[in-house]
Amino acid sequence: MSNLVELNMGPQHPSMHGVLRLRLKLDGEIVREIEPIIGYLHRNAEKLCEMDYFCDNIVYFDRMDYVGAMNMEVGFLEAAEKLLGVEPPERAQWIRVVAAELNRIAAHLVWMGAFGLDLGMLTPFFYCFIEREKILNIFVELSGTRQQYNYMSIGGVYQDITPKIIEEIKEFIKQFPKKLEEIANLFLKNDIFLSRNRGLGVIEKETAISYGVTGPILRASGVPYDVRKEEPYLVYDKLNFDIPVSQKGDNLARFMIRLEEIRQSVKIVDQAITKIPDGPYFNPKAKKSLMIRLRGEGEVYARTESSKGEFGVYIVGDGGVKPYRVHVRSPTFKNLSIIPAVAKDKMIADLIAILGTFDLVFGEIDR
């Protein structure tokens, strides 16, 4: 005999981080069965990529993880430049690292604020967004836009970094760690926050690996996997930083991992900003008039570490000016697939808290 209540949650729901729809089977307040239904933001970016030149595809990647678009651009260009045989000059590589790490900080701040909102904490949200706004202002000077930058292009970056922007970044890095501790204290000195998250939503190491989970969630479960260390791209092998790992695997561990990652990103930007070498910021082989004539043949998979996990781009070229097939390994798509296993037999309010730690961005899941 079953008296389970079927409940439809989303796609329009305040705590669903976009357009996630969950079909729940409830036994009182306890969730017995979860079925995520996605696709409400599906634009088929992969098909759109096949219809455009390599250099034009970057805009579709900007719109995938829209809170961490610089990381998406890095991911696509890692694959596309290998396929097309265009090497970015060293200055461009350092600029990309600075931009990607600043964007990682911004993306984690968005997550942190939104996670607070999920748990009913309104104040940290504003503190997080004040800091994020400072980063976005830097990006406005760097690229001209706040979120969908289209800043990097095949063979380098579209615009050079100026001494003024470097000064602004240095200034930001100088004041940010103190503000970050203030924000962290809002969470970590709050008893309700701690008791709601400690021991909740534990993901075992084996389960996480089997479901293909990556990023902070996997590191919170005890696997020290970070592409920046395992297969360094750009100039990450010349930088000194640590990969935080926790063995606990619960909500609080995931929070602490992301908090520590922000600190490590600050460390990376701090080192990289002083090391940017002089020289060209653009490979003349891929200058604007020649860019659409670049041809790619063969197949390339490149993985990078975005703020959500391993972001991989697989491009198959048939020797034409457009890619033959593009496939994106989006980290949140795989991270979301573990939800039915993790949040089963939990209270419905805890389901929201667990979902909150997954850092879902629907531009990337639905593509």
Partner: protein, 152 residues
Amino acid sequence: MVEILEEKKGKDGRPIFVIKKSDLLEFMRQKKQEGFDHLSLITGVDRKDYMEVNYHLYSFSKNQYIVVKVTTDNLTVPSLISLWKSADWEEREQYDMLGIRFDGHPDLKRMFLPESWVGHPLRKDYDLNNVQYINMDEYGEDYATFDPGDGW
């Protein structure tokens, strides 16, 4: 014994193994025992007269990455859901986008599009002029409808 038809290196230096479709499950089981515990990606490629399926495997302990490639004429490939749980959604996505059926998948349905959608968008012969709309009925089920005529 598993026969490897071809072993080559991709442009990014990753080894690519081309094997027969009938050997896929056995080969993958061997690879999993060798330590490839992470199925990263399943990609179908429409080569017009046949379909190609690429499996990307990664080993956390060895930090190795390989690609396994099979081809299929009749749009069916064995499912790997018994080895890796992550195969579930990956296979559903490829079924949705390319219409590849994965034998042995317990719940093979579309990932992004509603069940009533006509065609598989990433196929090379997909008709982009065929405009379809998604609606939701009173029970919250999605269904696709067609453009009634001249429209736009």
